[in-house]
Subunit: 586 residues, 2 copies
């Protein structure tokens, strides 16, 4: 399974060999659309991360090339994304002031560490680690991050100076500053938000009604942010808004991404280790879930461990070319997919597009109002807010609800890193809590059958001399004591008891602690004159038990089926089972 004949070490060798003209045309078109989308997004997310806008462009060139060579998804578009940019801002904020060269250097170091971790996780095949971020935690985290980002960007949209470490502080500071709203800025920003929200739903039908084909209308509708940005930039240039205090992007350096090095400061590395790990895991999870969803639509698949390597290389690439942490973005990958990208070559063409923008287009971006970029972020992240998860988990599972709420509240109230860690811990603890209190049912014989069911739910036949228990969980250290307790309790309450039979049909594993518990149960029962038996032990579990002393010591037996156990140990139950099919004595 590991090495398939049709897969090379480098995915590019697979698709590169089959590359043809139709694929080229599709990839070029998709790349053009994604490039248009990525230019303003890159600038905006770099600002969100507290970095100069051009850094966003730098982070969208070499990382895309490296992903195209190493990635297993045909359509994933890599670059700066909202949540990771917020996490980057939080992580660097503790070590440097936004806008300083030191800040940028720390961002580069963070990308380097994150890349190294991803690469290492990939080479060690540790992709499964990402599984410990449960869906509820991810949902809560993304929703809370989106709210934090939106709250933070609103001040740029309105031209006020709100500050704050958490959601409540940002909102409070915001309300206090309401008097200082810069009217022209607010006009530009709010109009842009209104336009973008309208464009999502209304632009495509409008274009279709104007006679465009639906597919073309869709592509043009996706370019709405670019149109909005171009329009506001043109208006600013014409009307001189920047002179009345509207903040604009301003002069961006023109040219190739710089060659950069991370800071070789081990104290800093140690302090950035946890944020870098969290950024890696969140980025990986976002990237893999969108990659998997899109791959499945074409019956393709991605390989999580190779994705780790590809994303690791992309982040290392970002670190050495003046970028900051990147990952596979949701919306741009969907756009890339919908626009018909066939192979990672679309990513290469997109990288070339962004490179051209960095070389030639930066003067054009001079007059873009910052409020316009902030508006595109607000609209983009608000689509990530999903509060329905609260309702759904509440009705399905209170444990999952608790995990969502914890993540949401801690992220909003304390911060992104604390929120994520708290969410993971709560979900792990609740899972352990659940498995530590397994469902243990006393079962009895259903009259006229060979089936055994829960005595509390069904009319079944039982016998005071024989106790049948079924544990609906694998036995391990955290629940083996619960089984001991339950059996002790039952034994103390049943003076006539002679046999205890444990039906093991739902036990997928027995660890060393549980094995010792079974030995302890057997020993205690034996000393009380009771035989302990097992039934319906699964093959793999039996294989391991055979090598232990439990079976040698066991006073009772191991039965293939629970019915056989009862037939041997309490035949009177079967007689009653055949005599009566309605009455029960248990």
């Amino acid at each position: 399974m590991k090495t398939r004949p049709d897969q090379s070490m480098l995915p590019i060798l697979d698709w590169g060999r089959r590359y043809d003209r139709p694929a080229l045309m599709s990839d070029l078109l998709a790349a053009a659309i994604v490039t248009l989308m990525l230019i303003p997004q890159s600038l905006a997310y770099a600002s969100l991360a507290g970095l100069p806008p051009e850094v966003g462009l730098y982070a969208s060139i070499v990382p895309l090339l490296l992903y195209a060579i190493l990635g297993t998804s045909q359509v994933l578009a890599v670059g700066p994304v909202a949540v990771v940019s917020l996490m980057t801002a939080t992580a660097i904020g503790e070590h440097a002031l936004a806008g300083t060269p030191q800040y940028w250097a720390v961002a580069i170091t963070l990308a380097f560490l994150s890349g190294a971790m991803l690469l290492l996780m990939g080479l060690l095949r540790l992709g499964f680690l990402a599984s410990f971020l449960s869906h509820p935690v991810i949902s809560g985290f993304i929703t809370a991050s989106a709210l934090l980002i939106a709250a933070g960007q609103l001040k740029v949209v309105l031209g006020v100076k709100a500050e704050g470490q958490n959601f409540a502080e940002i909102l409070l500071s915001f309300m206090r500053q309401m008097g200082q709203v810069h009217l022209t800025t607010a006009f530009i920003g709010l109009t842009m938000i209104g336009f973008l929200f309208w464009a999502r739903r209304g632009l495509k039908p409008l274009l279709v009604s104007w006679g465009l084909r639906p597919q073309a209308a869709d592509a043009w509708a996706k370019a709405a942010p670019v149109a909005g940005i171009a329009l506001t930039a043109a208006l600013t240039w014409l009307l001189g808004w920047q002179q009345s205090g509207v903040r604009i992007v301003g002069a961006l350096p023109q040219g190739l991404p710089p060659l950069t090095m991370p800071l070789w400061d081990f104290d800093l590395w140690r302090e950035l280790a946890v944020p870098a790990l969290l950024i890696s895991v969140v980025g990986f999870v976002e990237s893999v879930s969108v990659g998997q969803t899109l791959a499945a639509k074409r019956r393709q698949r991605i390989e999580p461990d190779r994705e780790l390597v590809a994303l690791g290389a992309s982040n290392l690439g970002a670190a050495f070319t003046g970028g900051f942490p990147v990952t596979g973005g949701f919306s741009r990958s969907v756009v890339n997919f919908d626009a018909g990208a066939q192979t990672p070559a679309a990513g290469v063409f997109t990288a070339v597009g962004i490179l051209l923008a960095a070389l030639l287009l930066t003067p054009v971006l001079y007059f873009v109002p910052q409020a316009t970029l902030a508006a595109t972020i607000v609209v983009a992240v608000l689509s990530l807010v999903d509060l329905s998860i609260l309702r759904r988990t509440w009705s399905y599972s209170k444990a999952d609800f608790a995990a969502v709420m914890t993540t949401l509240l801690v992220t909003l109230g304390i911060g992104v890193e604390s929120g994520l860690v708290a969410g993971v811990l709560v979900s792990l603890l609740l899972f352990l809590f659940k498995t530590s209190r397994p469902h243990i049912a006393e079962v009895g014989l259903v009259a006229g059958t060979e089936h055994f069911r829960n005595v509390l739910r069904h009319q079944v036949i039982v016998d005071p001399r024989l106790l049948s228990l079924r544990v609906d969980e694998s036995l391990y250290f955290a629940n083996s004591r619960a089984l001991e307790d339950r059996i002790n309790e039952e034994v103390a309450a049943r003076p006539q008891l002679r046999h205890v039979v444990l039906q093991c049909s739902a036990i997928n594993d027995i660890d060393a602690s549980a094995l010792e518990s079974l030995e302890a149960i057997d020993l205690r029962l034996r000393e009380a004159g009771i035989a302990f038996h097992l039934s319906e032990v699964k093959g793999p579990v039996m294989d391991r038990l055979k090598a232990t002393e439990l079976l040698a010591h066991l006073k009772g037996q191991v039965f293939l089926t629970h019915y056989q156990a009862v037939a041997r140990l309490a035949p009177q139950m079967l007689v009653r089972g055949s005599e009566t099919s309605a009455s029960s004595d248990g």
Copy 2:
């Protein structure tokens, strides 16, 4: 189940009502033997904890009385024990110098915090928390602690001044000091160790050969430490060994335990919180496991949550009467049981015995050499060393072996608290790791039956249009992605596939993440033109699924049995199953 008619709020009301003369006589005899054993042990463990010896006596009076009133075990003997005393010394060592009044005050505070935590855990019914200390971790921890204690006491036995924070340091410092061995001290200490080891095996047969009845011989053999202590004390007094530098217990205050208060220093509390929690949990686990083992021998039972309350009260009692953290001891409880104790009244009588010792006997203890006490500790703790757990876990489960080794090495190399925490973390992570990589088998029809088995292990019938998968684990966030990956992989490899059926017989739970994964799987399969079905879903799991949208959206169906699913979806398999009973095409 919660409130049984035969159980009162206070266990003492149950056994007190039925108390009679035979029980009284049995309890008195057991109490006399345990008192003899407990006097030297209490002094020794107080010294081990870095406290004045009389504190050991104080910790063996009021705690015993409180446990007799509140405890649910009939025979548990509470007081200072080796491992908890070591943990106490470690915890206080960071806050005060051994021998100072501050040190004692911190010990009292530690007992207070530990008692409060136990009480709270009991009232909140959090006894299950102790389950997270797996057997391998406990074994590794106790063995390592015993080695640490023995290494630490050896210097007292030999009269040298070795110091060190961990096992290697203690041993190294010890070797460097070998030239300074105090010969008389070493003679007393080593002779005592030799005598005690011999007494364990050889004394009882000798006494029996002298004509004693086996039971009496056993009781007298248990008193060997007392005899050894009395003899060395007498020799010291006669020969004036203390003048040649043999350290003796010296003058102990005579009288009732003092009334004391914990330090109301919240900074100190915060720093002691983790050690106090670890001491509580270790003490509780030790106490409950010995209590359960002994209760089962008489078909009695103990209630873990009420044990927490009783141990909590005992520790609070220790805090207010000049003691230090206590718990139910293994060896003394076994002695109490073997000596015939019938009720907790034996504990009351033991407490009275220790009280009399504190009031009257302290002058007699003046000449007891410290080396003799240290020798009793060395012999007692070496019986706790169990390295066979390494061999057993190695052959049974590598994950459990890793947990034992981690606990053992970190405890020896860094310290008791780190060792315990590392052990718990490693065992939890390995459990999560195991459940995150569930066994997923492709199953096929066994010819001539309605059974489905693993295609890798059995000759079975399969069909390229239908894929049957069985997951041997409950589905939750950490493994739902593994199922997604597996299905993606299978789908990509089978161009003819039309149906995927998930056999859910081993799935005891599906959490919200797994539910979303199932929805994602269904969606992706549907987009690839494949129907996703479930079979053999358990009742409780089905109850919850019914309320979700999964079943409404599902393109496939939910079948009662896997055979029904195949009969409906791929009837050609059944035909082949009846035609042939030996060949297979998968």
